[in-house]
């Protein structure tokens, strides 16, 4: 049994704060919690909502069905009441008017006027609704009060506490619920996990230009910049951002940049520069629907092909699609090691869904994290050659300024071993071959996609990145319903690991790609790389993430 609370209202009504308050309270009671945001690209007005799903069992995604709606305005009740379960309720906090209509019987009236009178503060009414919600679930109020104490102080805190208590006392326990086994968890979103991973990996330089939904990586790093001694620079544009990160990397620090598709479009010449100059860099791209400005605050997987092919010319790179917050943390750390080992750009491909959903996960394990710089330890070098031709294709790298008498020449022109500009056909061939020799060992680094589902599935789903959560839950439900189905969920996506794919494709009778885009970019990539063609595509490109329910519905309707 799991429960799903929706808090909705106009931008500026504090859904974010309320959502976090109750989610943290539920987390600290020991529930598995999944907080999902759906917001418009505006500062005031419109309709925004968050959903807080919680369960005594592990959960990995949002769902559509609602147990409770907290309506900060009537529009919220109107839009979402159709998604309530049979026993579902609506808490309406707007005072004065009464709700008329088919869902009037579901409404729980909060004594809003009294609470506002008692606290002298209109803005605490949402907190009263949270108190009321906890009572409806028969849960204690204390965890909510503790969270309020972390967030507010002084008179505002007092008013919030009174409101929570009043709300709590205004109602009776209503829903059947199980109590969880408490477990040690953190409550974190995808972008925070990337930022934490970057700090753990020893990233000391992050330059970027704000762009939703990538900005919060920079915001978290900036908050930690003093304690973690990481330099966070807001560049004048994305072109400067990537060229700064590359300059810092040349100078010897671990450097990273991030943006969404539109900002990354401005960076691609810099990607090409990283390619020819063999400068390590980690680039996070948080996708949102395009083209151009598209849906600024919504989600899509529309930039896979773009990122794999970004930058003019040919050079090796690695693209890792992030699947969930834990993945985001560990893969960010790995990205820095791979970038420095092979002196290539490494991309972390995420999206608005993963960037913004917050969920309970096991605390990250730092004991297995290693920072491997792959800098040459040689100190008695004479005549250092930045682009020395080697068997592996990897040239020894030194930090400029560290070794007396040795200089480092980086060149965006085709260059000889010393880094000087050249037009020699022979050297050109040597350098292209050297750069591409790095591909072979890179294949050995690849992590196969995660497989979920029954053994020898009749139907094989192929997907990537943030659809991980909903797909995993959908497959589990379908397996319980005796459907022979499984899913390969790609993390490493370029170069494309094909071992599990080739094995399962031989077993499955139907192969279906499920993606958050209009053209099936993973299917195209797989066909190109493995000659395996998908029999059917399930594609969604309305800016709203695939949910478990929508996946099951679509599969049943079109495939199973």
């Amino acid at each position: 049994m799991d429960y799903n609370i929706l808090i909705g209202g106009a931008a500026g009504q504090g859904m974010d704060t309320l959502g976090h308050l109750i989610a943290k309270a539920l987390k600290n009671l020991g529930f598995y919690v999944f907080l999902h945001k759906d917001y418009m690209s505006r500062i005031r007005g419109g309709h925004n909502f968050v959903t807080i799903r919680f369960s005594v069992d592990p959960i990995f995604s949002h769902t559509d069905e609602l147990t409770l709606i907290i309506a900060l305005n009537y529009e919220t009740a109107h839009i979402h009441s159709g998604k309530l379960t049979e026993s579902g309720k609506i808490i309406v906090v707007e005072d004065g008017e009464k709700i008329n209509g088919e869902y009037a019987s579901l409404v729980i009236n909060l004594p809003s006027k009294e609470i506002i009178q008692k606290t002298g503060n209109r803005r605490v009414i949402g907190t009263a609704a949270l108190g009321c919600a906890l009572k409806l679930f028969g849960l204690p109020l204390e965890p909510l009060l503790n969270e309020a104490k972390n967030l507010f102080e002084g008179q505002i805190l007092d008013a919030n506490i009174i409101a929570a208590q009043e709300g709590y006392n205004s109602s009776e326990a209503l829903f059947n619920r199980e109590l969880p086994q408490p477990w040690d968890s953190i409550f974190i979103n995808g972008n925070e996990s990337i930022a934490l991973g970057a700090i753990a990996a020893g990233c000391k330089f992050y330059s970027a230009y704000p762009m939703t939904p990538a900005t919060s990586i920079m915001t978290y790093l900036s908050k930690k910049s003093k304690v973690a001694t990481i330099l966070v620079e807001q560049a004048e544009d994305e072109i400067a951002a990537i060229n700064m990160a590359l300059g810092a990397s040349y100078a010897g620090v671990r450097a990273m940049t991030g943006s969404s598709g539109g900002g990354f479009a401005l960076m691609v010449e810099g990607v090409s520069l990283a390619g020819i100059t063999e400068t390590p860099i980690v680039i996070a791209i948080s996708q949102r629907p395009g083209p151009a400005t598209g849906f600024p605050t919504r989600t899509e997987q529309g930039d896979l092909g773009f990122v794999i092919h970004s930058g003019h010319g040919e050079f090796p790179r690695m693209v890792i699609a992030l699947r969930h917050p834990e993945d985001a943390f560990y893969q960010t750390v790995r990205a820095f090691n791979v970038a420095e080992k092979y002196q290539i750009p490494v991309f972390l491909l995420t999206d608005q869904y993963l960037a913004d959903y917050t969920t309970t996960v096991k605390p990250f394990d730092f004991s297995n994290i290693t920072i491997e710089r792959y800098l040459t330890t040689e100190v008695h070098i004479s005549n250092y050659l930045r682009y020395a031709i080697t068997e592996s294709g990897i040239s020894p790298r030194i930090i400029p300024g560290r070794i007396t008498g040795q200089i480092v020449k980086l060149d965006s022109d085709e260059h000889d071993e010393s880094g000087h500009i050249t037009e020699s056909a022979e050297i050109r061939n040597d350098m292209v071959n050297k750069r591409f020799r790095k591909i072979e060992p890179l294949y050995d680094e690849l992590i196969e996609p995660e497989y979920v589902g029954c053994e020898n599935p009749e139907t094989l789903l192929l997907c990537w990145g943030s659809t991980y959560g909903p797909v995993k839950e959908a497959i589990s439900d379908l397996n319980l319903g005796n459907h022979s189905i499984g899913a390969l969920i790609f993390g490493d996506i370029w170069p494309l690991p094909t071992k599990s794919l080739n094995r399962l494709a031989k077993i499955a009778r139907k192969i279906i790609n499920l993606e958050q885009n209009a053209t099936g970019q993973l299917a195209a990539l797989i066909k190109q790389q493995s000659m395996i063609a998908c029999d059917h595509s399930l594609l969604k490109y309305d800016g709203r993430q695939w949910s478990k329910d929508a996946i099951i519905d679509s599969l049943k309707k079109e495939v199973l």
Partner: protein
């Protein structure tokens, strides 16, 4: 110490030769070891300068010499960073970076070879080409007004603004040395003939107009500097036009100021462990 045995790709009579020699002399005079100097450049004939001098080189993208140079200095404040490129690279393709580099006031030296024309792409207008000058592309003349880098830099609050001439290596060398010693962003706009493509602003054209600022010129007089910035058609002032130190980026930023160079900081994954409690 700074010589290197590479054949240059410059045309005979190019002003770049003089600038390269003046730069080497300035670095010699400052006693800086080559491995502690980085020249960040873009693309163009001027941007090839670090190919011909024995110092660290970051020869990046057209227009992007400033962001790279800025980051190199931020990553390792012990390095002397010189950003060197042409008028197209610095004022055209990299114009946005120029504006914000001045605002940042980081301790770097920005040397612009300003020959008022695009050389490497064979003779099109640059942002500083004179109005109505005919070029290999603007056959009826350039219709845009030329950009005045001195005036722009002063307007943005630059603390060190100088104008030199590639034909006077001794003077240029002294000014480069002063710019490197200056704590903050320093701009040197170097007037330079392009014998291949600029038939208007020739060696003689400059020679006929340039004059040196007198020794008792007050370097801190911003109003006077703004007047001098507009002198062009009949006489062109050479020298340090404005010099006044103000808060420099590194000294203002505790992360940079209170720590060893970022590149020397130890890396430890467990540094992030304590941040997990933010999410408890």
């Amino acid at each position: 110490m700074f010589n290197i045995s590479n054949e240059t790709a410059w045309c005979p009579g190019c002003g770049n030769f003089g600038i390269l020699e003046a730069l080497k002399n300035a670095l010699e005079s400052l006693n800086l070891p080559p491995h502690k100097i980085v020249i960040s450049s873009g693309i163009g004939q001027a941007a090839k300068t670090p190919q011909y001098i024995n110092v660290n080189m970051y020869n990046g993208l057209h227009g992007r010499s400033l962001p790279a140079g800025i980051a190199i200095k931020l990553a390792n404040k012990d390095l002397t960073v010189i950003v060197e490129s042409g008028d197209g690279c610095s004022y055209g393709e990299g114009g946005n970076h120029f504006i914000h580099a001045v605002r940042r006031n980081l301790d770097i030296t920005h040397i612009v070879h300003n020959n008022q024309i695009y050389g490497l792409t064979k003779g099109q207008a640059s942002p500083t080409t004179s109005r109505m000058q005919k070029t290999e592309l603007q056959f009826d003349g350039v219709r845009l007004r030329p950009l005045n880098p001195i005036s722009l830099a002063l307007g943005l609050g630059a603390g060190f603004v100088a104008r030199c001439f590639s034909g006077d290596k001794a003077h240029l060398s002294l000014v480069i040395a002063e710019a490197i010693k200056f704590k903050g962003y320093a701009l040197i706009d170097i007037l330079q003939p392009c014998p291949s493509f600029n038939r208007i602003n020739t060696f003689k054209w400059y020679k006929d107009r340039i004059y040196y600022l007198p020794e008792d010129y007050d370097l801190t007089d911003l109003s006077k500097a703004r007047v001098l910035a507009d002198e062009w058609d009949d006489k062109i002032p050479l020298g340090i036009i404005y010099k006044s130190e103000s808060l420099e980026y590194i000294s203002e930023n505790p992360i940079l100021n209170d720590n060893p160079p970022i590149v020397d900081l130890p890396l430890n994954p467990f540094d992030a462990l304590e941040f997990m409690k933010d999410f408890k």
